[in-house]
Structures are given as structure tokens and as C-alpha cells.
Symmetry: C2
Subunit: 406 residues, 2 copies
């Protein structure tokens, strides 16, 4: 089963249109702040949400709206998280109502999302003004505008799309995301909107998404903070005309593989564009005795502030890798651990059986100066593996977060 | 019961001498790198160790040496952690042997500690050369030299001593510490050596220490990394001549209070001198339904990279406080939470019942520009409180850790 990368982002699947405009939530008029994604027909829908107890009002509203497994549009603003506001739910409902009225659809079929500062009332006026403009500018190549409109401290827009076949039908799936700071395993200030023209039941769609994120978005960490507003949604409108996927089997597996291609790609782009990041870190753990051990170790290493700072400095400080494994909570035999650093410039073994080995600091530096670094950890204790994604800790992370609100 | 602050650090208690020298582990000749603390008589001893699975060789040796509840001397080097080295145990034993021989004491009564880089073999030669010099320079006002010799990226030496009475006897307790990076609840690259002339049984000494650290050193976080080498030891030589404390009661309570004064003071100094820190953060949680909830919330807030960066920028971004409470894992009613920021410049309420309140950004800035900030969180849901200590996240943290080894 071939998964081919294509262009088009969230509009690559048949029947989806998108738009993004500046409506005035942000002062900077050159930054778009309101995005809309719409399907020509009703979609089966699935979503996963942040585990933070403090949940943005839009999440509560969205959860309620797609409890019937159906949705047709996504409205998302950046610049204000609409969280910890007394009238948050009311505002989020108003956003849905305005979209529903404008598009002549059911308010119950609108997914609402917000991202930005917490605890500042969100004014509905600019949004009310922006929605008609959005509706007018909806188009089949609007993914770029929507992707830009959901960005906060992101430095690049994040889009991906793939083409694949189910039965004899050509299918498509695409997504846009915003990431950057406050991203930690179990969802964080991360918004991902995925669209597909595959016909698949709501139940199987939710099963696919819930299964996929345990190995993708939940293995992604920028700074260890888990945000209040994050969610991943998938809308499937069935316009590829395949026989609806209603059960496990080959077709579901193909769907899962396409979804995984989309989500891993977005994870890597989000991690590499972490706030202030200069490097994408990919921690690959193999030889674990259980899947949980593999995950726990990979996450712990990719989250270590000390290691992240060392990677920024291209310093092969493998002791910090061992240290992070040691406090991860996983029960591992530390005397069996091998660690290598890998990049396009090659691979270097720096620790074997839990102790240092002689290695060329020069070669290590050359490897670590690259933009994408793999931290390869072999636990030599079993068959299970896992990958986690993160980024280095830099001066700019501190700068960006030292005074975000002003 | 009065606990009076006095001078003298680790030599404030009767019968303790200390010294610190440059022996050559570090290249910089002006930085002392080897410390010795000795009691005139055998002491009852207690210790707590890092929870990291990767444990420095010195910890294994120390644990073994004080398994009989006795010790008389502490040898500690900085510049090399003697961890993840094939011959680590051997080197740590050699350090004890050399001290024992030089002082004519039992090697089994020596506490060994090391701090610095992980995974680089520790050469015994400079230590063997340094120990006779150390022994010769031991003196009753040597705390300063010892405190300096255990520093790594610390910018100030850390000492404290107190005087108090048990029965009709004047007693003393003092300590030195090294802290800075890689400090996280449950011990981290932190070494604390406490001495006292109180007569107290080994069992009660261990009980006092183990009880105290759950509210002190285990509530301290610089960067979330838990080090491989940390420990806190207490030596009690009984020279104050009080009736030995062998059970709970008023005298044990006085001892606990003195110990807590010493440890809280060291926690605050260590937090305020976190790597690159410009501010001491003290997170006070009250009104929790259980002691665990109070601790979990306090730790989570003080560990949030986003909040730490906001404090560096003197930005009253209380949404990040709520966010960190929400993902802490504690079950709290987020709609009851009040948050204030407090410093010498006053107190400002920024969040009430989980939502923002109008406040003067100017006044908040004035408060947050101070060197010591209290984040005051009221959960309004019970009777329990807890305090955690940490520091802001700054450019210099990244700089210090971007290339620590070279």
C-alpha cells in the first residue's frame, strides 16, 4: 500500500474548502487570525482533547457538538485562547452560531477552536465581522491561508497531504497544524485539523485517531507544559466513494497508515518549529522489555532540559541521556544501555553498556551541528521500540516566553 | 523554642573541622575542588539519596559505609561526578581509604561524594595528592573553604548554622550545600552536608532527615532533571552533651525544628542560585483537600518552563499558573482557584475563582521585578498547604548548559 505525498493540505481531500483572514483579534494587521474549513457534505468526525483539567471553553463546545459523530465545518481563531473567561462557553457558542448562519448549516456541526493567551476575554465583534469575509473567500486551494491563520509563535505554517487507494478508489487525506510552545505528551497547545474524503464510520474514525495519537502527538514535547486548548480533529466526508470502512481489516489498516503518515509528518514539523528551536530531536528507543518502557524512556530523554540545552550547544553530553533514562520511572538495566547520536553527517556511539566509550569529539560535533538529530538508545533488554520528538532549548525559547503577553 | 541563626556553617557544631583545596581535578587553579569535613569523635549518621536509577558510584560506597549508622568524615570532590565509569566504585573506595589512612580512622566511617560531569573517568592521582594537604589545613573555621570546594556552577557558596537548646544544653547545627542545575524533587545534583553536636540515635536521626526532606529538598526544582549523584547527609557527634534523643517527644521536635530551619534556608539559597536564575520563586499552595494535592500543585507550578520564563520577564501571566495546576495530575476544582503574586513591593490578586480579575499591570510589574517572588495559590477546598521552591528560566540557563563539558 502506497502513501504518496501531495500538495493541498487540508483541501487535498475532495469537497473541502478553506480560508483564513485577519479579522482584528490581533493588532498586527498582516497576521491572519481566523480560519475556516468546510466540507461540501456532512462528515463523520472524531477528536481527541487535552488532558489538562483547565480546558478551554472551545473544547467543551466542540466535544458537545461532535458527540453525535458528525461535523461539517471548523472555525478557529488565534491570538486568544478563550480559556478561564467567565463567558467563554457563550463566546464559543456564538462563534458556531455565526458560522452556521453564514453557511446555512447546523450549529451543532461546527468544530470551534481557539489558541493564544489564557484569561483575557475574547471579543466576538471582530469574529462576527470576519466570518462573512471568510465564507466569501472559501476556496479549494485555501489551505495555506487557513494554516497561516492558526499560527501563534509558529515560524512556519504546517501542512501535509497524502494520496492512497482503498479498494479501487483514489483517496486523500490532509492536515494543518499549529504547534510551538506548551506542547507535551497528551496534547498541548497544539491544534491539528485533518480532513479526508475516505468513507469511514465515526466509530472507526475515532478508533483510528485514538490509536494513532499514542504513538504520535502524545510522544511530542516542546517544553513539558500541557496546554489547556489542544485538540486534534478528523473530518471524513466519504466523497472518495470507497465502500465505507466499518470494521478492522486491510482497508482500515491502509487508512491507519495514511493517518500515521500525516500525523508523524506534522509531529516532526511541530517539534522542529518548537519555540526558539534550532534543532529537531528524534529519540528512538529500541530493545525495551515492554512498549511502556520504550515510551517512558523516549519521552523522558526528549523532555530533559539539560539534554535539550546540550543539543543546542552541539555537545555530545551523553551522561544527560543516561541521567534522563535513570529518572524516567521505567525499570531498566542501566548497565545494558547503548547510546549513539545520528544525523545526516553520520552516526557515533558514545556510550556502551551504560559507560562511556572513546569517541571523536570532533566527529560528534560535526554530527550534532546538523538540523535534525536522532538520539538512538538501545536498551538491549527486549523487542519493543518507540520514538519521541522534541527540540533543543535555546535563548530564543526564553525570549519568546519571557514576555509573551505584551 | 528559639532557633537562632549563627555563623560557622558546617563547623558551627562542637568538634567539627573542615577544609577545602584545589587538588587538580579542575584545570582552573583558583577553583577549589576537594573538601573534607571531620568530627573529633565518631558520629551517628543518616543520609538520603537520589531516586535516579543511574546512581553515582560514591552513593553506593557511602550507602554501604553508613549502613551501620556511623560516620566520622566526609570527602567530596567537584569537577567529576564519578558516575557511569567502569571503575567508579574502586575510585570511590580509594578516596575513603586515603582519607582513613591520613586521619587514622576507619574507611568504613567515611562518606564519599562527587559532583560534576558524568561518564568521564576520575583520576585518583590529584585526589591522593590533595588529601594530605586537606588534612593539614583542617580547621574549626574551615566551613567557607569546604563550601567553596563543592561548588560547580553555583555562583555563591551555601552555608547556614543555628543555635538552640535541648534540655539545658546549648546545641548547634550547620550545613553546606551545592546546588544549581539538575535539581528536581526527590534529590538532584545537590549535595548537602549537615553537622550537629546534638546527641541523637542513628534511627531518630534518619527519621528526622527522611521526614524533613519530603517538605524541603523534595519540593525544590531548578530544571526538572533529577541527578544521579545527590545526597543529603547528617552527622551528629553528641558533643553538646544533651541526653541522647532516642524517641519522639519535645526534644525530638526541637531537633526537627532546627533541622527544618537549616534545610529550608538551604533550599531557598539553592533555588535562588539555580543555573542562570535571576529570581527565587516560592510557590505557596493553601486550602488543598489533601497534603498530596497541595504538594502536587506547588511542584507542578514551580516546574513549569512557561511560568518560569514569564517570571524572568516579570510578566503576570497567571494563565500559565492555572495551566500548570490543570496538568499537575491533582484533582482540583479549577473554578475555586485564587492566584496572587507577592514580593517586597506588595501583593496583587490576578485570578479569582479560576478566572481573571482586573488588575494594574503596572503594579504587577513592580511586584514581579523583585528578586524573590511568592506565587500564592488558594485552592479554597480544604485545610492543607505546601511550599515549593524554584527559579526563573533565563538566557543564562541555556548558556550554562549548552556547553557545560568544555
Amino acid at each position: 500500500m502506497d502513501i504518496k505525498l501531495i500538495n493541498g493540505g487540508v483541501c487535498a481531500a475532495k469537497g473541502f474548502k478553506a480560508a483564513g483572514v485577519h479579522c482584528g483579534i490581533r493588532k498586527n494587521k498582516t497576521k491572519k487570525d481566523l480560519a475556516l474549513i468546510v466540507s461540501d457534505t456532512i462528515c463523520n468526525a472524531a477528536a481527541v482533547y487535552t488532558t489538562n483539567l483547565v480546558k478551554g471553553a472551545p473544547l467543551t463546545v466542540t466535544k458537545n457538538h461532535i458527540s453525535d459523530g458528525k461535523a461539517r465545518a471548523v472555525i478557529c481563531n488565534s491570538g486568544n485562547a478563550n480559556t478561564c473567561n467567565a463567558n467563554g462557553i457563550e463566546i464559543a457558542e456564538q462563534m458556531s452560531d455565526l458560522v452556521a448562519k453564514e453557511l446555512n448549516i447546523n450549529a451543532n456541526d461546527v468544530v470551534v477552536a481557539s489558541t493564544g493567551v489564557i484569561g483575557q476575554p475574547l471579543d466576538i465583534a471582530p469574529i462576527a465581522e470576519g466570518i462573512p469575509t471568510l465564507a466569501k473567500t472559501l476556496r479549494a486551494n485555501g489551505s495555506q491561508d487557513a494554516a497561516e491563520a492558526i499560527m501563534t509563535t509558529d515560524t512556519v505554517d504546517k501542512q501535509i497531504a497524502v494520496e492512497f487507494t482503498i479498494g479501487d478508489k483514489v483517496c486523500h487525506m490532509g492536515g494543518i497544524a499549529k504547534g510551538s510552545g506548551m506542547i507535551h505528551p497528551n496534547m498541548a497547545t497544539m491544534l491539528v485539523f485533518i480532513t479526508t474524503d475516505v468513507a469511514i464510520s465515526s466509530d472507526m474514525l475515532q478508533k483510528a485517531l485514538s490509536g494513532d495519537i499514542t504513538n504520535t502527538f502524545n510522544m511530542l514535547s516542546i517544553d513539558g507544559d500541557t496546554s489547556t486548548n489542544d485538540m486534534v480533529t478528523v473530518l471524513a466526508n466519504g466523497m472518495a466513494d470507497n465502500k465505507e470502512i466499518t470494521d478492522d481489516g486491510e482497508e482500515f489498516n491502509t487508512f491507519m497508515k495514511a493517518l500515521n503518515t500525516v500525523t508523524v509528518n506534522l509531529c516532526r514539523v511541530i517539534a522542529g518549529d518548537g519555540e526558539g528551536a534550532t534543532k529537531l530531536l528524534e529519540c528512538k528507543v529500541s530493545g525495551a522489555d515492554t512498549p511502556d518502557t520504550a515510551k517512558t524512556v523516549a519521552k523522558s530523554v526528549v523532555c530533559s532540559s539539560l539534554l535539550k540545552a546540550a543539543m543546542f550547544g552541539a555537545d555530545a553530553n551523553w551522561g544527560r541521556v543516561l541521567c534522563a533514562i535513570g529518572y524516567s520511572g521505567a525499570q531498566v538495566d542501566t548497565t545494558k544501555i547503548d547510546v549513539s547520536f545520528v544525523s545526516d553527517k553520520g552516526k557515533i556511539l558514545v556510550c556502551q553498556n551504560g559507560a562511556g566509550v572513546d569517541f571523536s569529539e570532533e566527529k560528534a560535533k560535526e554530527i550534532l551541528l546538523e538540523r535534525e538529530i536522532v538520539i538512538d538508545i538501545k536498551l538491549n533488554d527486549g523487542e519493543f521500540s518507540s520514538t519521541a520528538w522534541g527540540c533543543d532549548l535555546t535563548y530564543d525559547y526564553v525570549k519568546i516566553n519571557g514576555d509573551y503577553r505584551t
